[in-house]
Amino acid sequence: MPAPVRKSFTFLSRHAPYGRDNAQICLELVLATAVYEQTVNYLFMDDGVYQLVDSQQPRTIHNKTLSANLQALSLYGVETVYVDSESLRQRRLSIDDLVIQVQLLSDDEVTAMIRTADVVFPL
């Protein structure tokens, strides 16, 4: 039996956590991909960085926060979560505002992460 193919997936999570399903779908895709032991680059940019903000209270809009699942990422082998530093800066956020530890990327590093991936899922 041939060895399973390992490919690199870059997930661009670009939308705020509520109001549409993009954020939740992106997280589900990341977890599923990790289960199949693929290389996962999970990158938050644009309004997607709001998904990472600590102390959200989504129950008031009958929703649930992603933060519990985000904190479980390492259990799935997703050790590093990436954030576009310019997106944080534009929203006057810093890594101290975020619910998990992240690695900040410059524009050039974001470009490289997209260019070198086998597949990109923009969500």
Binding site: L29, A32, T33, Q38
Partner: protein
């Protein structure tokens, strides 16, 4: 080249599904291969067989079914996306005691593993919508 296509959006409300269909037709016309169509999120609405479209409009649902049949394409509907939107085959209709089913037997219902598999086995994977 081997392609897989992920369809995220419903027909008619936006251009995504229509673009995906025309891209598939172009890929096949150029002699390339489609490894899998993966209908995801609102994209599963492209698969209902119960849609009725005005005579002077094109039925995207019919066009997808024709494409899948003609080229014997591997087409998968994401199970989570499909069931919650009422896109079900006769087997699921029986299982959940539903009055009708609307999914073509040419399309299988399966999970995200089929999407990962599509990436593993395709040269290019494109997302539409």
């Amino acid at each position: 080249m081997k392609f897989s296509i992920v369809i995220h959006s419903a027909p008619y409300a936006s251009e995504g599904a229509s673009s995906a269909l025309r891209f598939c037709q172009a890929v096949l016309a150029e002699g390339h291969e489609i490894y899998r169509l993966f209908f995801f999120r609102d994209g599963v609405h492209n698969l209902t067989r119960l849609a009725v479209v005005a005579q002077d409009e094109t039925s995207l649902q019919d066009a997808w079914e024709e494409l899948i049949r003609e080229h014997r394409l591997d087409a998968v509907a994401c199970v989570t996306s499909a069931l919650k939107r009422g896109i079900i085959d006769s087997q699921e209709a029986n299982r959940y005691d539903k009055a009708a089913s609307n999914l073509s037997e040419l399309v299988s219902i399966s999970g995200l593993g089929q999407l990962v598999d599509a990436v593993q086995n395709s040269d290019r994977v494109l997302n539409f919508g």
